[in-house]
Amino acid sequence: MAEPMKIRTTLKGDSADVRVLMVHPMETGLRKDASGSIVPMHFIQEVAVKVNGKLAIEGQISQAVSRNPVFSFRLKGVKAGDKLEIAWLDNKGERSQIETAIA
C-alpha cells in the first residue's frame, strides 16, 4: 500500500539538497470529521534517508508534523548517480519507499 512520494535533488559540489514530498494525512487524533466522530491518530513516525545503502538521516516525527509532509535535507559527500532511498513507517505499520539517483 504505497502512497506516492516525490524527491527533488540539487547537487552542489559534493553536497546535495534533497526535498521530499509525502502524501499522508498526519492525523492527530484530535480532529472530528463531518459526522462529529474523532478521526483516529494516523501519522508517520519514522523516516529513513539512505545513500548507497548507508543510513544518512534517521527521523522520528510526531503528529505535529503537517499533513502531506515536505522535508528538506542536505547530504554531504555525494556525487551524481549515487542511490538515494527514502522510506517511512507510520503508526499503523503502513510504509512507503522511494528510490532515485542523485542528480
Partner: protein
C-alpha cells in the same frame, strides 16, 4: 480506486514487508518523549538534562503564521559535530514534534512544516559532543480570512 495509491515517476517502490530498507533496524520511536505533555517532560525523556543557548543553532521561521496547520521551520546547526536536532513546540498538546539524527553523510540541517496549536515558542535542541545547545523563536499563529 483512490488515485493517490499510485507510485510516481522517479520511483521503484517496495510494496511488501520485504523492504530493502529495514526500518525496524532503526531506533524505535521514542514513545515516552513524544507522548510527554510538557516541554520539560519531553526534554527529560530525550535525555536532555540541560542545554546552553547557542547562536550557532539557527532557526529560520516566519514570526507570524497565517495558519497554524502548516508552519515552515528551517533549522541549521553550526555547532561542530552536531549529531541530532530535536524540535519542541511549547504550547502543543504533545510538545515534541520531531527529532532527526544525522550521520557523516548528512549536514545537521532540516526544513519541515509543523503544526502549532496556538502561538508558541518553538525550541530547537542540537546535540554535539554529548552536550545540548538550544535556540528558540516565538511564532504567532493567526486565523485568516473569513475562517474559510
Amino acid at each position: 480506486m483512490n488515485p493517490l495509491r499510485r507510485v510516481t515517476l522517479q520511483t521503484v517502490a517496495a510494496l511488501t514487508a520485504g523492504l530493502a530498507l529495514p526500518l525496524r533496524a532503526l531506533a524505535a520511536w521514542n514513545k515516552e518523549a513524544f507522548q510527554a505533555k510538557t516541554a520539560a517532560d519531553a526534554l527529560k525523556n530525550l535525555g536532555i538534562a540541560s542545554s546552553a543557548e547557542s547562536k550557532d543553532v539557527l532557526i529560520d521561521a516566519p514570526q507570524i503564521a497565517e495558519n497554524g496547520a502548516v508552519v515552515p521551520i528551517e533549522i541549521t546547526s553550526n555547532v561542530p559535530n552536531t549529531k541530532s536536532i530535536a524540535i519542541v513546540i511549547d504550547k502543543n498538546p504533545f510538545p515534541l514534534a520531531a527529532k532527526f539524527d544525522f550521520s557523516e553523510g548528512a549536514a545537521p540541517y532540516v526544513k519541515v512544516n509543523v503544526k502549532l496549536g496556538e502561538s508558541s515558542f518553538v525550541r530547537v535542541l542540537a546535540e554535539a559532543g554529548g552536550k545540548f545547545y538550544s535556540a528558540s523563536r516565538e511564532i504567532k499563529v493567526t486565523i485568516g480570512g473569513c475562517g474559510g
